[in-house]
């Protein structure tokens, strides 16, 4: 691990995000597992709701402000906020403060919140300085850059470096990895044909990459791409990158300093 002068945060508040809570709870459990592995304690403030991005992107700013203020009330006192989604983090980091630019004291509080809110891979690689993941995961992975991750938050190499470090995992190049998969939230509903046409380009590139699994930082892209793969009867899968990390780490013998209670357990269906 890299040396850092700042003290390593011991506790983080987990912002689970709507999609992970509702559709992909295993991504949430994998997040706990990975954070625990690196000695980080996780709080889950149960009063959390949605970051407000759907309302914001649809142009409904008063409602987005309601969501932002609630988010602030829930997370303002946390040392660090971590979420397994670049898109929701980009909402907090990029859009919250400007929503209150008519009220500078509030905007300032949102700026402070933004400074301590991280997407999971940012937290692992940039804050904790994690450089490699122990354990193993056998298979080939193609990396898809989520737009909000790559262009919104500047996440490019971090998660790929960690994936590449896993024994047995082969990271294959995905042509056009930086091109949007066509999800875009409301866009996918308002312009379904445009959206699925963009999806097809992504799926074709993925199929051509020869990788078995497509991975990314965002459940939204993965829901979209995975849904397309399933609809087309593809044998390939789309999986959140933290699930791969957690699977690899699960191969490592449990650490003695963790109590049973701290160790996450995976629920079966």
């Amino acid at each position: 691990m890299a040396e850092t002068t700042a003290p390593r945060p011991r506790r983080v508040a987990l912002f689970i995000t709507c999609l992970v809570d509702f559709l992909f709870p295993r991504v949430g459990e994998a997040t706990l597992e990975v954070l625990h592995h690196f000695g980080v304690e996780v709080d889950f403030p149960e009063a959390q709701t949605c970051c407000g991005q759907p309302a914001f992107n649809a142009g409904h700013r008063p409602q987005a402000r309601t969501a932002a203020l609630h988010f602030l009330a829930v997370f303002e006192d946390a040392e660090v906020v971590v979420a397994p989604s670049a898109s929701c983090v980009a909402m907090v980091v990029e859009h919250y403060a400007p929503l209150f630019d008519d009220h500078p004291p509030t905007a300032q509080r949102f700026a402070a919140l933004a400074a301590k809110t991280f997407e999971l891979s940012q937290f692992l690689t940039e804050v904790l300085g994690v450089e490699s993941i122990p354990g193993r995961w056998d298979g080939s992975v193609a990396w898809h850059h989520s737009c909000h991750g790559l262009r919104g938050l500047g996440i490019a190499e971090g998660p790929q470096t960690l994936l590449r470090s896993i024994e047995g995992l082969e990271l294959r190049p995905l042509p056009g990895a930086e091109v949007c998969c066509g999800f875009g939230g409301l866009f996918s509903v308002k312009f379904p044909r445009l959206s699925t046409d963009m999806l097809q380009e992504k799926i074709d590139a993925f199929e051509a990459s020869g990788a078995e699994c497509l991975s990314a930082t965002d459940g939204s892209c993965l829901m979209h791409i995975g849904g397309g793969l399933e609809r087309q009867g593809s044998a390939k899968t789309a999986q959140h990158w933290v699930e791969i990390l957690a699977s690899a780490i699960a191969q490592v013998p449990p650490r003695q300093d963790l109590t049973r209670q701290d160790r996450p357990r995976l629920e079966s269906d």
Partner: protein
Amino acid sequence: MDINTRDFPARARQALGDGALRRALATSNKSFRHSRDQAVAEIPEWQALRTYGQQAKKRAVDALPTALNAFRDRFTARGGQVHFAEDAADACARVRAILERHGARRIVKSKSMVTEEVRLNQDLENHGYEVIESDLGEYIVQLAEEAPSHILAPAIHKSRQDIAELLHRHLGTAPDADIPTMTRAARVALRQRFLDADVGISGGNFAVAETGTLVIVENEGNARLTTTLPKVHIALVGIEKVLPRRRDLAPLLRLLCRSATGQQLGSYISFIGGPRRSGESDGPEEVHVILLDGGRLDLWHDPKGREALHCIRCGACLNVCPVYERIGGHAYGWVYPGPIGSVITPRFVGLGEAKDLAHASSLCGRCDEVCPVKIPLHKLLLENRAQSVEQGHVDAGAGLVVGGFARLVGSPKLWRWALALARPLYRLLRRTPVTRWGALGAWQAGRTLPSLEGPSFRQRWRRRHARGGGR
């Protein structure tokens, strides 16, 4: 150009199904992107240059009222004439007044998006003038009786074969003529038009206030002929093209040319400082610059929209846009397509008239990345969405959903109940793939909805902590 922005969704659907269009766009966009990327890679300080460009345009646009007056004074002092046109009708009327004064009939034009914006060709033709476009792409589009589909490459939606057939019909070239043959034929046809023209009409890339200079960038030499051969030259320029300082011009030209075509500089860059002076052997006797507002001042007065006026019309955002690449320029329904079009069109024609345009983006942000003057296009699209809602352009259903969302999102208890209720509903809808109902129906058009992986994360967290005795 007529305003057809209301039909955007239908036009986009139709374009999406047009195989020939799709092939033409895919090829041209890829080649544009490739050229631009190479040209940018040659400049190590590209990002710093972009920042300079951003600041230069910000300085220029922020000082717009002063800069416009300074340009008028300077250009007038050099013998030119400057007019301000409030809107399209005003601009066309001012052009016609000049034509009438000179008894002009034949007009040759070089490429100008502002003249498309004010529908100058239609206006002049309706008044009996003979207008010919001299930019090859514009000429092709004019022969085909179409509108340009790209701000830089007007005929980009047409394949080589389409053009060969068109020129075969109009100029008698072979139906399968190669590109050099077609270009030569067009050049021959156009040459006489330049010589016969009474008036030349152009656009303008920059209007430098400090020196009173109109700057035009081009590759075919037709703009230079248009602005020098006829005895009168009229330039139509958007007010946002005024640049107070001469020293900002060179960096902006570098940014423009590399972003637009991947060239170091355009083949011809003309610096026009008024009419022919005594003792000079060529050049027009009169030069007019008509500066068009056309909605730009309203945009200027909106602090959240003003950055859109920084645009130098390079077209790079079109070339990287996955939506533009799939539907082409005509689908957007007006003059300016692609991301910048979806930003400025609703401001010029009305947010209600073009409310779908701001949504014609997955907000992927590739346009922001290539914009040579760092316009935050995706944020401006979001701004348009918000202002559109503020002006009441929202359907009742969406209003209801968003109202409900706001109730829930601020109340953890209601939020939990809503999510718990949503689970059986989601399972039911998911098992009904034929449903055409609302958002889920649209989603299921090409994607299977994921199944629920057992209990929600929230439930799992509670169970874990209940078992562990933690809470």
